[in-house]
């Protein structure tokens, strides 16, 4: 579904990504793990078009993406749950969700989409009139995921959904991600919470200082010596 080939990204004199190549197939949950500053966020931003690659190509559903601006990529079925959630603090939960379907046509009926998000995260239904900025961190993360789902994406990308959340909340979120995966949604998950991500992932890539240094099935990497030493501190 997604083919990233030889992508390099530069910020001024700094090179953030070096010749990154990976793929996500339909129905897969692929994880990218790695330390802070490895370039994980940059990969997602490049896929969505917020960052321009210096070299390389990105194909989505068989068509090259590189020339399209972010809003066209969203319309083609890519949704991002960004790092730090980036919700709109003064906007109500309901309005935020409806904005999530911004690229859907004028006549699209949003009610079933909203209902599906409320089924997944019932707490959002009880807060629908509340301003997004007044929600707890976990609820804000659910809202950010709900907002992305509202676009009815073919590929859902998540950037460190576990960041800054309590373990109980993380477990709950990962259960929901498992549920989404079970429904056949294609997911690209970027995480520092390596254990959880690898457990859920079909396949995973390890990104260090802008390069992919290892790849494999989720459970393989979970058992890998290097991963255990470096990321799981076993």
């Amino acid at each position: 579904m997604l083919d990233v080939r030889g992508v390099s990204v530069r910020y001024g004199d700094l090179q953030a990504l070096w010749d990154v190549t990976f793929a996500v197939r339909a129905g897969e949950l692929v994880a990218i793990i790695g330390p802070n500053g490895a370039g994980k966020t940059t990969i997602l931003k490049t896929i969505l078009g917020l960052v321009r690659p210096a070299a390389g190509s990105i194909d989505f559903r068989g068509a090259p993406l590189t020339r399209y601006p972010p809003y066209d990529r969203v319309a083609r079925g890519i949704a991002l749950v960004p790092e730090g959630r980036r919700i709109f603090p003064n906007m109500s939960v309901r309005d935020t969700l409806e904005l999530g379907a911004y690229t859907a046509g004028r006549r699209a009926d949003l009610r079933p989409r909203v209902e599906r998000v409320y089924d997944l995260f019932p707490v959002l239904a009880s807060r629908q009139r509340q301003a997004a900025g007044t929600l707890s961190g976990g609820e804000q993360q659910m809202l950010a995921i709900g907002r992305a789902l509202m676009a009815d994406p073919a590929l859902l990308m998540l950037d460190e959904p576990s960041l800054g959340l309590a373990p109980v909340v993380i477990d709950h979120l990962y259960d929901r991600l498992g549920e989404l995966k079970g429904r056949g949604l294609t997911i690209l998950l970027v995480e520092q919470y390596v254990a959880g991500a690898l457990e859920l992932a079909d396949r995973a890539y390890v990104l260090e200082t802008g390069r992919i240094v290892r790849e494999g099935a989720g459970h393989e990497l979970l058992a890998d010596d290097y991963i255990q030493k470096t990321y799981l501190a076993l």
Binding site: L50, Y71, L80, P82, R86, F88, M91, L99, T103, A148
Partner: protein, 300 residues
């Protein structure tokens, strides 16, 4: 008959509030464009002047029919909005945030100066040697409890309130308004959910220029505008959003009424020459006392 003192106070208050409502609507157009596109449009006040000048040209010199003239003005203002956005806003949008702000100042300041200079020069040359734009609009006065109220000012106040109501509906009920709010609250968040910043900014400038130019016409029904009134009007808009916060509709209205009332009272007590001193002092006072704005959060 009410006592003369009461009559004077009521007149001053009505004058201040109606001027304030007018200021509020033009300041909100300025504020919305700033919040969503990060372009600080120094030429904003120039749109008021342009509106008044064209209206005067059409109605007083060419004697166009009211409806025809109004439609023609609307068409011209929409065209101005479209061209302004395309020529000055779009080229700056891809630059980094600091470059956008500085670039927007240079470009729009340059445009404002050119507009002032050319308007003043050619108006004096072709139309009237003393450029001054005013459109007398003698609405009948209203008698309430023995008080005489200016129909013109009441009309302005009503239009300003109606516009504020429409702005409110735009922001809370329409897709475009919600997208604009999202854009001003979190720029990148708005891009991520697929908002097309170009399309949004075109619409915001279309609405903004029309509202601003028509508020210029309203302004010129009570006081004349000159080619050089543009930059001071931009300063007034800026003062209002420093008071009320960028992107806030209630803030713009409250700030507008505050500045408008201060201006009318100052003019009454000390003369018109002191009015700009008062609003500029308010501007600096707010900056020192409450840099984040009186009613809102201002992003620098």
């Amino acid at each position: 008959m009410a006592p003369p003192a009461v009559q004077t106070v009521v007149e001053l208050l009505l004058g201040g509030v109606s001027l304030g409502g007018l200021y509020g609507m033009m300041a909100f157009a300025f504020s919305l464009a700033l919040a969503t596109t990060r372009i600080l449009n120094v030429a904003h006040g120039g749109f008021l002047v342009l509106g008044a000048a064209l209206a005067m040209l059409f109605f007083r010199f060419l004697h166009l029919h009211f409806l025809l003239g109004t439609l023609l003005l609307l068409a011209i203002f929409l065209l101005v909005g479209l061209l302004f956005e395309g020529a000055f806003v779009r080229p700056l949008m891809g630059r980094p945030p600091h470059a956008v702000l500085v670039g927007s100042i240079l470009v729009t300041f340059g445009f404002a100066l050119a507009l002032e200079a050319f308007l003043g020069f050619y108006w004096a040359d072709l139309v009237d040697p003393q450029p001054s734009f005013t459109i007398p609009f003698p609405a009948p006065t209203l008698q309430v409890f023995g008080l005489t109220l200016s129909g013109t000012r009441l009309t302005i106040l009503a239009i300003a309130m109606l516009t504020a109501g429409l702005f409110h509906l735009l922001l809370t009920r329409t897709k475009m308004g919600k997208a604009a709010r999202a854009m001003s609250e979190d720029h990148e968040g708005a891009l991520i959910i697929g908002i097309n910043p170009r399309r949004l900014s075109i619409r915001i400038y279309l609405v903004g220029v029309v509202v601003t130019a028509f508020s210029g016409i309203l302004y010129s029904t009570t006081a004349p505008l000159e080619p050089y009134s543009g930059l001071p009007l931009t300063m007034i808009a800026l003062t209002i959003i420093v008071i009320g916060g960028v992107g806030s509709l209630p803030g713009a209205l409250l700030g507008g009424v505050l500045v408008g009332t201060a201006e009318v009272l100052t003019t009454f007590l000390a003369g018109g020459a002191w009015a700009p001193v008062v609003y500029l002092l308010v501007f600096f006072l707010v900056l020192v006392v409450r840099p984040e704005g009186l009613f809102g959060v201002r992003e620098a």
